[in-house]
Structures are given as structure tokens and as C-alpha cells.
């Protein structure tokens, strides 16, 4: 909580500081809790409605805890025509969750995004900051295993 007040001090009075403040606050905890938002509203002298309004407008912000590994499956045009939906189905099956959900052990969060901008490699997904391209449903279990292993190390 102390870190949040430092962040608030950094952005207080700055033009347009709310969004970068929310971005940095989320970087710390992985999501924005009700308490954090209340603290930000008070510190920035904004109504909670305004802060919540901005938070829920942008898809980058999350109000619930998220997994250690964030999987973003691309649903852009190029991925769409090259079978992105079958990749999504395989991921949902392997992880036992639906898109937008987080596994119970907080290992993986599965999300869909409009376009990652790596259309040359369609269909693609990103896990954290890594891009995985030219996917087939068969490749999915192996890729997931790699991230599970990393956890164990």
C-alpha cells in the first residue's frame, strides 16, 4: 500500500497522470483491487466513479487477480482465417477454463486479443512477453508444459 502512495505522489498534479498511474499500480499487484482504486481516487482528488470509469473502459486493466502466466490468443483477421479458433478451443480444453478466466492454481490466465501484430506468423498467441507463432492444436500441450516447468524451477 505504501508503494501506491509513492506512485500517487509521482503523478499527483501531472496532466493526464491517471492512466499511467493505474498502469504502474497494476504492474505491482497484477490487478487493481477496490482498496487500491479508492486510494488512487482519494490521492488524485478524483471521484471513485471517475477512476472506476477509466479503469473499466480499457481492456488492459483488471479488477480480479490474474495468473502468473498470461496467455493471449490472437483473434485478429489473419489468425482468424488461419484457424485461431481451434487454438483457442485446445487451450480451453487443456487448461479447463474458458477465455477470460484464470486457473484455480493461479498459474494461467487465458485471454483473447484483437491483434498482436504478428500476422505473418498466424495463428499466434503470446504467453507473457513471448510470441508463439504458426501454431497448431498439437503444439499447445508442449508449449504449456514449458511454462509449467519454468514455474517448478
Amino acid at each position: 500500500m505504501e508503494d501506491i502512495s509513492k506512485l500517487i505522489d509521482k503523478y499527483r498534479g501531472s496532466h493526464g497522470g491517471l492512466i499511467p498511474l493505474l498502469q504502474e499500480a497494476q504492474d505491482q499487484a497484477g490487478y487493481l483491487s477496490r482498496e487500491t482504486l479508492e486510494q488512487i481516487a482519494e490521492g488524485m482528488k478524483l471521484s471513485l466513479a471517475k477512476v472506476l470509469g477509466v479503469t473499466t473502459f480499457y481492456s488492459q486493466f483488471h479488477l480480479k487477480p490474474r495468473g502468473k502466466n498470461i496467455i493471449r490468443i490472437c483473434m485478429g483477421t489473419a489468425c482468424h482465417v488461419r484457424g485461431g479458433a481451434s487454438i483457442m478451443a485446445k487451450l480451453e480444453e487443456e487448461l479447463g477454463i474458458k477465455t477470460g478466466e484464470t486457473t484455480k492454481d493461479l498459474e494461467f490466465t487465458l485471454e483473447s486479443v484483437a491483434c498482436i501484430g504478428a500476422c505473418g506468423l498466424a495463428p499466434v498467441m503470446s504467453i507473457n512477453d513471448d510470441i508463439h507463432g504458426k501454431l497448431t492444436p498439437e503444439k499447445i500441450p508442449e508449449i504449456l508444459a514449458k511454462y509449467r516447468r519454468q514455474e517448478a524451477v
Binding site: 491517471l18 492512466i19 499511467p20 473502459f57 485478429g76 491483434c115 504478428a118
Partner: protein, 591 residues
């Protein structure tokens, strides 16, 4: 000295080009060859399909799909002054190995003006940019009057590369003529169109060119501050632009009294937070100000009242990267490239069912056929060309009859599509145009900010109708409803998102009406995509009872014993099509 240029664009990085670079570095140092070969980690070369790619100067030998274990052999050949044949590009029709980059068909018809540094310079090193004429245009500009700079841009005929194609010089002129204590230059790097990635590649591969374009624009309109609004989903571009800003500051290309003039300019980066509508200029400004990214009604236009209510000029990355090129080559020479009303080049992101995916910069006026078949190498897997979707969710589709249409802003509009940001997605016979329209509309509806009713409610209704049709519940009147509601939304929406969202429907209705009718009247999806309209059947005379289909069916819908033709239970079938794929005897058909 020879240079080894390893591609460090997002595409090649995902193919482990970093490891290739590191292996090269080690091998060169192990053999003591650092003085002979200069190794560089560059921006995107554009030919993502063949990544990781390497270019070796001075002969421009082009190596594809390079793996770290190829490095010792490659260095061995290079050291001897030879070419490493194994990794050269193979032309798929003739199986011939091609020696140099400019002879590779993907590059042959390109005219790389804006992308000239991408893949050649190290984007994290300002000296590399300077040695390729970097910041020379800025020096030239600072000796001119701002009005002269605007005139140059007007003469060049440059139009906005982000979507609408508004003349850039005119836009600058409006902002120049507005009187205020402060003005802003905004670089729109919120590239959200699914299927477009030229702005990402430019920002990653030649970030200083974007800064130089902003500086020149700032000088021309009389602004001292610039913002780059960039997607947070592009971490590498953010990093390289940030490095470039720091380097430019250190060398005096950003800051006060630039290069001894009276011109001050600074640039800040603002990261977007994931909202497609923020690509719209007024929504983008709201977002920079820390608000929900909702568009404002215009007028007042940004040139009069933009960011923080000050006159602002907003251009996208590719437009700004054109500016130093124009100042360097001269506006009249630039204006000789392209068509009568669309000058210069355009970068297209070529994706979908095409053999050579990647980024291609071509002169305006090139035909679609040249882009898809000569540069793109034709439709992949030997399938038949059906259409291209140009301009993303705001654009439309073009069909076989448009293949010889010279591509420029106006010809595309006439054909019911638009340049958009330049995404070109190729589709073959296995793409369902109704489902494609539904897909784009679900994107636009999801990204609608909700401020104006036509976009918020209208697109929701359009999506419901399309959903009905792909599920087999459509009626013929639905096609007229799509048409009239779509036209209505275009006319009455507040911003560009709503004004273009129905385009994919209207253009597919225009060119593929029969496909819609088949979905509605005959409950058939000719491309075999819409699951609710599919059924699978085993042709008894062809079935050899091998049991492969039975084994692979995820819903256990197939029954049959040895030596007995198998059957599909329609009530259990999930229409996934696995059985058809697996059958070695082509005994399963889709109806």
C-alpha cells in the same frame, strides 16, 4: 567491412533470431573475425514468413530460416568469401536458389523508401541512423520558414497513411494558422487494426525516422511538445522509441535551441491501455488526458482545439516516417511516384492465405494482382483466390474482378473498400464471407465506446442479424435490413469507428450476395465454415472400414464394425470435421 544484418523484428524474434545473433557473435569472436565482419541486430526485414532472416552486405545475400546450429557453416563460407547456398531463398515454382535480396520475388517489385533503414540499421544506435542521412532533413528544414516546409509537404501530395487519406500539408496548415500559447504534435502509434503491423515495424526498425518526422511537423506548425501514443501491446517498439528519444536528447536533436536554431521540441511517450477506438484522433486525445477514450464531436477540429484544448496535429507513424524522406529527396521528385491523387508509396501488411506473408512497401498505383501474386507468391496450399480484405474492420473486400485495379486511396473507395492502415488479408475458397463479416462486426461492436447510439445499438443489431444467418435462422428480409441499417449507421455515427464499421458487411453483400442467400435460403455454407449449417456423411461405397474416423471422433458419433461401412450419428456430431481430415480414402463428405 562486410555487415551481417540479423533481423530483430517481432516476427523473427519469435523464431529465436536473438539466439542466432548471439551464436554469430560468439563464432565471430572465437575465430577472431570481428574486424572483418560487423554484426548488427536490426529492425524488421519484412519477410516474416521466412524468418529468422539475415542479410549480408555488400552483395546483399539473403539467408532465410536461419537456426543457431547453422552459424558455424555460415561463417565458414563467409570467411572464404563464398555464399552459403543451403540457406539461400528457394523460389518455390522453379526451386532455384536466389543469390541476392533484390532478386527475391518478394522484394523485386517493392520500392522501399520509408522502410529503407528497416533491416539495415541498428535501431538502438543513433550513429547508424546518422550515417544513413539521419536528421539531415531536419537540418534542411530548420533553414526554411515553417510556411515553406508546409508548402513542400503540400507539393509532395502526401496523404495520411492511417486511414482516411487526408492531405497532410493541408492538415499542418490548419494547425499552423491556429493561434495559441502552445500547440502539440501527436504521433498515432495506436495501431489496432487486426492484420496491420507496419507502424510497429517502423517504430521497432527505424524509430529515429519517426522522431525526425515529428520534429519537422512540430517546426512547421509551431509546436514545442510532442506525444507518441503507442499500444502497450508493442513492448519492443516502446523500448526502441524510448532509447531513441534519450539518444536524440543527448545529441541535441531534442531539447532547447535545436541545432543552434530558436526551435525547442520535446517528445513524451504515452502508452495506450487497450481500446481500439483510441486510434480515432479525438478519442486518443481524451486518453492522453487521462479520461475514457471517447471521441468528441467535431468541429472544433483538433487543429483548432485538440489536446488540453490547444491546437494539435495528429499523424500516424507511417505518415510521419514519410516526412524526412520527402524533405531529403525533394517534394517534386517524391510526387512523381504513385498515381495522380495518391503520391509516394504505401506499406501493406500481407497476411492470410498467401504464400509470402510480411510487410511490403510498394508505389501507389500498383495492382492488387502484383501485390498478391508477384510479391505475395499467390494463394497458399494451391487453393483458389477468393478475395482480399483491405483496410481491416473499417475496410471492405475486393474480388477477382479487382485484381487489375491500380491501388490508391480513391480507387479503393470507389470499389467499396478503403486504404485504411494497409492491412491486406488474402482469402481463399475456404473462407466464408458471411462469417468474415460477422467476425469484423463482432470486433467493431466490442470496441465501440458506447457514446453514440447509432454505433452502440446499431452495430449490436447488425451483429444479431449476422449471428442469425450463420446459425441458419436468417430470413431474406434480413439482407435488406443489413443494407439499410448499415447505411444508416455510416451516416449517423459520431466517429470513424461507427462510420466505417458496417463496411465489411456492405462490401460482402455487394460482391458475395449469393453466399448470403445460400446461408438464408438453402441453409448451406459453401465454404464449409459455419458449423450450424454443416453435416458430415460417410459414402458407403468408398468406406474401407479402417476405423480411423471412429477413433478420432471427439464426440463418439461414429459407429461401425470391421468390414462394415461406418455411420455418423448426426445428433451426436459436433461438426468439427476431424473425421473428414483423417479419412485416407476421402469417403467422408460435407454437405
Amino acid at each position: 567491412m562486410k555487415e551481417i544484418l540479423v533481423c530483430g523484428g517481432t516476427g523473427c524474434i519469435s523464431g529465436d533470431s536473438r539466439l542466432v545473433h548471439d551464436a554469430l557473435e560468439q563464432e565471430l569472436s572465437r575465430q577472431g573475425l570481428e574486424a572483418e565482419f560487423k554484426l548488427k541486430y536490426t529492425g524488421c526485414h519484412g519477410f516474416c514468413e521466412q524468418g529468422p532472416v539475415i542479410l549480408v552486405t555488400p552483395k546483399d545475400n539473403f539467408y532465410c530460416k536461419v537456426a543457431p546450429q547453422d552459424v558455424p557453416n555460415l561463417i565458414h563460407q563467409l570467411k572464404e568469401g563464398k555464399v552459403y547456398d543451403e540457406l539461400l531463398y528457394v523460389e518455390p515454382t522453379t526451386n532455384e536458389r536466389i543469390l541476392t535480396r533484390h532478386d527475391v520475388p518478394f522484394y523485386k517489385k517493392q520500392q522501399r523508401l520509408v522502410l529503407k533503414n528497416c533491416g539495415i540499421i541498428d535501431p538502438e544506435n543513433i550513429d547508424d541512423y546518422l550515417s544513413s542521412c539521419g536528421y539531415k532533413s531536419l537540418q534542411k528544414v530548420l533553414k526554411l520558414q515553417p510556411e515553406q516546409v508546409i508548402q513542400e509537404i503540400k507539393t509532395s501530395g502526401l496523404r495520411g497513411r492511417g486511414g482516411g487519406g487526408f492531405p497532410t500539408g493541408t492538415k499542418w496548415d490548419f494547425a499552423r494558422k491556429s493561434v495559441a500559447d502552445n500547440k502539440y504534435i501527436i504521433c498515432n502509434a495506436d495501431e489496432g487494426d487486426p492484420g496491420a503491423f507496419m507502424d510497429r515495424s517502423l517504430s521497432e526498425g527505424d524509430p529515429h525516422a519517426v522522431l525526425e518526422g515529428m520534429l519537422i511537423a512540430g517546426y512547421a506548425i509551431g509546436a514545442q511538445e510532442g506525444y507518441i501514443y503507442i499500444r502497450a501491446e508493442y513492448p519492443l517498439a516502446v523500448k526502441r522509441l524510448s532509447i531513441a528519444i534519450e539518444q536524440a536528447k543527448a545529441r541535441g536533436y531534442l531539447g532547447k535551441n535545436l541545432l543552434g536554431s530558436k526551435f525547442d521540441f520535446s517528445i513524451k511517450i504515452k502508452q495506450g491501455a487497450g481500446a481500439f477506438v483510441c486510434g480515432e484522433e479525438t478519442a486518443l486525445m481524451e486518453s492522453i488526458q487521462g479520461n475514457r477514450g471517447m471521441p468528441r464531436p467535431r468541429p472544433p477540429y483538433p487543429a483548432v482545439k485538440g489536446l488540453w484544448d490547444r491546437p494539435s496535429n495528429i499523424n500516424n507513424v507511417e505518415t510521419l516516417a514519410n516526412v524526412p524522406v520527402i524533405m531529403e529527396m525533394g517534394s517534386e521528385r517524391y510526387a512523381q511516384i504513385g498515381t495522380e491523387k495518391s503520391k509516394g508509396t504505401k506499406i501493406f501488411a500481407l497476411t492470410g492465405k498467401v504464400n509470402n506473408t510480411g510487410l511490403a512497401e510498394v508505389p501507389m498505383g500498383i495492382t492488387l494482382r502484383e501485390v498478391v501474386f508477384d510479391i505475395g507468391g499467390g494463394v497458399s496450399d494451391g487453393k483458389k483466390f477468393k478475395a482480399v480484405q483491405i483496410g481491416g474492420p473499417s475496410g471492405g473486400c475486393l474480388t477477382e474482378e479487382h485484381l487489375d485495379l491500380p491501388i490508391d486511396y480513391d480507387s479503393l473507395l470507389e470499389a467499396g473498400a478503403m486504404m485504411g492502415s494497409g492491412g491486406l488479408v488474402v482469402m481463399d475458397e475456404s473462407t466464408c464471407m458471411v462469417e468474415l463479416a460477422r467476425f469484423f462486426l463482432s470486433f467493431s461492436r466490442h470496441e465501440s465506446c458506447g457514446k453514440c447510439t447509432p454505433c452502440r445499438e446499431g452495430n449490436t443489431r447488425l451483429l444479431e442479424i449476422l449471428q442469425r444467418i450463420v446459425e441458419g435462422n436468417g430470413e431474406m428480409e434480413d439482407l435488406d435490413r443489413l443494407q439499410s441499417l448499415g447505411e444508416n449507421i455510416i451516416q449517423s455515427s459520431l466517429c470513424g469507428l461507427g462510420q466505417t464499421a458496417p463496411n465489411p458487411i456492405l462490401s460482402t453483400l455487394k460482391y458475395f450476395r449469393q453466399e448470403y442467400e445460400l446461408h438464408v435460403k438453402n441453409k448451406v455454407c459453401p465454404a464449409g465454415v459455419c458449423k450450424a449449417l454443416l453435416s458430415y456423411k460417410v459414402m458407403e461405397d468408398k468406406c474401407k472400414a479402417c476405423g480411423l474416423c471412429k477413433k478420432s471422433c471427439p464426440t463418439e458419433a461414429i459407429t461401425g464394425e470391421k468390414k462394415q461401412a461406418h455411420k455418423i450419428d448426426v445428433s451426436k456430431c459436433a461438426q468439427c470435421g476431424v473425421c473428414m481430415e483423417k479419412c485416407p480414402f476421402d469417403a467422408i463428405i460435407r454437405g
